[in-house]
């Protein structure tokens, strides 16, 4: 395995399988009374978050703690970053303190890649701008494989604001790598023009796609990243692309509903739809801890200079 995890493109299909299989063992650890193993005792993991996050940061923190690593949470408010310190100087400071891994979230695409040039430890991308969010993609792959028993040959639609979604890019790359049939669905203004190059199909009509799916993956409408008006109104978006109760009725029996969170209930997904048994949004969160334990173990469990 590569030393860092920056993009789903860094991983081969075999490595993805290895990460998911190892995560399976960590799921077992999560069911014990003592949910902790000594695998990464004495290692230090730094959570370096330049953007707000609840689930990803807590998930990484729990993952590292359950591996017995020491965890430092570094968020930009109340730190030297608020005094104007650059990413490079912050990274060098963390390195001087002996960080073995840096989990980074940043609003600029490519900043985790920059970090790898400055630090000796592993860098894990926990979301960079509108670029990638590979650990989210891996926990989604894990959840699909767990619930449906396989990945190859599945039909998955990713619905919504693909343009601003780092999850959509990472997940598309990961799904295509694993032989999944992927459709991106949304208003033309929110589908990036280069999407075809990811090896996916593009559709602008959600009702046409729903009856042929194994998984309907709903994206959050990211109003905080949208500088322009990409659709006339939230109400119109919801009417054309929102996963309503009627639309759920068009899905085949047994098809899953997934969402990376946090949800805008009533916008991209109806409130009662999010709480249906076939919606596995909470499983995604639970699996996220096991998948991140697996990644930290595989990245930090090998010799540093190997």
């Amino acid at each position: 395995m590569n030393k860092h995890l920056l993009s789903m493109n860094d991983l081969t299909a075999d490595e993805v399988v290895r990460i998911l299989d190892t995560a399976e063992s960590f799921r077992e650890v999560g069911t014990r009374v003592i949910k902790k193993v000594p695998a990464l005792r004495g290692r230090t993991v730094v959570n370096l978050f330049y953007e707000n996050s609840t689930r990803t940061r807590i998930s990484f923190e729990l993952a590292a703690k359950r591996l017995s690593a020491d965890v430092i949470n570094f968020s930009t408010g109340g730190s030297s970053v608020a005094k104007g310190e650059s990413l490079k100087d912050t990274a060098l400071t963390l390195q001087a303190m002996g960080a073995d891994a840096i989990v980074v979230r940043h609003s600029s695409s490519g900043s985790p890649h920059q970090l790898t040039k400055w630090v000796r430890g592993s860098v894990l991308n926990a979301g960079d701008g509108t670029h990638e969010h590979p650990t989210q993609a891996l926990l989604d792959l894990y959840t699909m494989r767990e619930k449906l028993g396989r990945l190859e040959g599945l039909r998955v639609a990713i619905v919504g604001d693909v343009l601003h979604s780092r999850v959509a890019r990472s997940l598309s790359l990961g799904l295509v790598k694993m032989g999944v049939d992927v459709s991106l669905v949304g208003p033309p203004t929110l589908i990036p023009p280069e999407a075809q190059a990811w090896g996916v199909q593009v559709s602008y009509d959600v009702d046409n796609v729903l009856p042929k799916l194994d998984v309907c993956y709903v994206l959050r409408v990211q109003t905080e990243r949208q500088r322009l008006e990409y659709f006339p109104s939230v109400r119109e978006y919801s009417r054309l692309f929102g996963l309503t109760h009627e639309r759920v009725g068009m899905l085949p029996d047994g098809a899953l509903i997934m969402h990376p969170g946090p949800m805008n209930r009533g916008v991209e997904i109806d409130s009662d739809v999010a709480d249906l048994p076939r919606s596995v949004i909470e499983d995604q969160v639970t699996n996220g801890i096991a998948v991140r334990m697996s990644l930290l173990y595989l990245l930090l469990g090998s010799a540093a200079d190997a």
Partner: protein, 207 residues
């Protein structure tokens, strides 16, 4: 648990010899004897549990449990333990060690747990297994059963039940085969020896 050891076969200088330790009948007899010894030592099979160390230890544990049912009429729980996360060499190998399944789905509090492994060597695997086991509860006793004890301990650990004691050189590779994985039962030792030396010369010991 079988710790990997790189095989250095320098052409022309070293060659490998393979020596048979146990055949399928020997394995069957050894396991039957160990099953009797476990019952004898513990005065029955009450509150007894077997936990095999992956790989191969778990297969041996299931067979011992079956033998104990036949001898004593008591069904005892069997678990499987993967000790990877408890190893003392994580971060020292080029790749993170491969992980196997762990399943201990019964209460070990107050039980006498017999750890079962194929080969006892340095004792490090058993140290890790005891740590792993303690995370599942507080057994009253832990005992150790192994099919082959090859010596060269690096920790103060010894087995309670041994199929066969085998003197080996430190560099030798002892392998136990189980029908469930390898298609047949048996045990063998593979040794490196300098060219020209008699095949029986280096192991020397009792015959």
């Amino acid at each position: 648990m079988h710790l990997e050891r790189p095989r250095n076969i320098a052409a022309g200088r070293l060659f490998m010899t393979e020596r048979h330790l146990l055949d399928a009948d020997d394995v069957r007899r050894a396991l039957t004897r160990i099953a009797h010894e476990i019952i004898e030592r513990n005065k029955g099979a009450d509150r007894l549990a077997l936990v095999g160390i992956a790989n191969r230890g778990d297969d041996l544990a299931r067979r011992l449990a079956q033998l104990i049912v036949e001898i004593e009429g008591t069904k005892i729980p069997v678990g499987v333990l993967d000790i990877t996360f408890y190893r003392d060499d994580i971060g020292m190998t080029a790749e993170a060690p491969e992980v196997h399944e762990t399943r201990v789905d019964f209460n070990i509090n107050g039980a006498t747990v017999v750890l079962v492994d194929d080969v006892l060597f340095t004792g490090r695997t058993i140290r890790a297994a005891m740590d792993a086991l303690m995370d599942f509860g507080r057994p009253r006793k832990i005992q150790l059963a192994v099919l082959v004890d090859r010596g060269h301990r690096e920790l103060p650990i010894r087995a309670d039940f041994v199929g066969k004691n085998v003197p080996t050189s430190r560099a030798a590779d002892v392998r136990v085969l189980v029908a469930e994985i390898d298609g047949e039962d048996g045990a063998m030792v593979e040794d490196e020896m300098p060219e020209g030396m008699d095949a029986r010369g280096s192991t020397g010991g009792k015959t």
